[in-house]
Amino acid sequence: MTPLERIQEHFSTQIIEVHAFRGDETAVIRPSSLRPMAKFLKETPELDFNFLMDLTAVDHLFYAGGRVQKEFRFEVVYHFFSLKFNHRIRLKVLVDEKSPEVDTLVDFWPAANWYEREVWDMFGIRFKGHPNLKRMLMYEEFKGHALRKDYPFNKRQPLIGPKDV
């Protein structure tokens, strides 16, 4: 039984979509089912996902041929790995534009701390319950979120020096 089959069995109603490509298994879910599912992945002995490998986000604003996506503009992507069983799973959490917020996973995987700060910095997605949600890469004076697709690519916000470079 693969990890994906196991969580499908357990959370059948909460999973929107699944796909697998050459053994890379993915489940697409809503923010409300993230924490129960993460707890399940971490604490089930047969799964034992003890390693958060990556946490990032995708902005689908102009995805699919220039069509502006308003509903579920963002996807927060989690990659989990089990050192014991050498298996992986990917979770994609759909986040809408109006309230870009998901729950934090810092208490399950401390590695999520800086990843979540980075996603907040670059995409402006808030993580509810994060102990220290402030910018990771950019400076506090920076306005906006640089990796959002509607951030102008030629906009500069220098700390010192000429302002309109």
Binding site: M138, A146, Y151, F153, R156, Q157, I160, G161, P162, D164
Partner: protein, 183 residues
């Protein structure tokens, strides 16, 4: 046996002395650092030009080597290091990122260090070869000998204060032209 004379201006003697005792401050932030190290090590050997002694205190150094991409977040630090250096001081922009921002034309990168501190020698390249660096170093020595120092910043509105090859950011043609003008 006659009397031997040696006449010169004091400034010439000072310039000559300074050009062979360059205490450099290596402000190394990125991949250009590898090329900087290779230039400094035995094979290319900047010690032949009297520049073999890096000082890691800005107060004791004469030349600021800015080696590698400078981000907007790093810019105030670079400015402070430059302000802490004693006169006379010179600045070398090492690599195209420091000259114009290079291909990092994005939200995070300073578009040329000459927008915040005056630059004496531009050494473009990604990264520049050690020969290119030594050539720049020799040109810097000429400047030091003559007692010349750059005092102006680049102004992006008037496009003044930067070699014409770098106007409007990095171009391949401009780069080739600059390399040809060096030889």
């Amino acid at each position: 046996m006659g009397i031997n004379f040696f006449t010169s201006k004091l400034n010439d003697a000072l310039g000559w002395a300074r050009k062979f005792s360059i205490f450099q401050y290596p402000f190394v932030t990125a991949c250009c650092g590898m090329e900087y190290m290779s230039t400094a090590a035995a094979h290319y050997d900047v010690d032949r030009f009297g520049a073999g002694f890096p000082r890691f205190s800005p107060r004791q150094s004469d030349v600021l080597f800015v080696v590698g991409t400078i981000s907007q977040k790093m810019a105030p630090v670079l400015k402070m290091v430059h302000d802490q250096m004693c006169e006379p001081k010179w600045v070398v922009a090492f690599g195209v990122c420091t000259c114009t921002g290079g291909f990092y034309d994005n939200y995070a990168t300073l578009q040329g260090i000459d927008t915040i501190i005056p630059v004496d020698i531009y050494i473009p390249g990604c990264p520049p070869r050690p020969e290119n660096v030594l050539d720049g170093l020799m040109k810097l020595q000429e400047k030091i000998k003559k007692g010349e120092q750059s005092r102006t910043l680049y102004d992006p509105r008037t496009k003044k204060g930067r070699p014409a090859e770098f106007q409007g950011g990095y171009t391949v043609e401009g780069h080739i032209k600059h390399i040809e003008s060096l030889s």
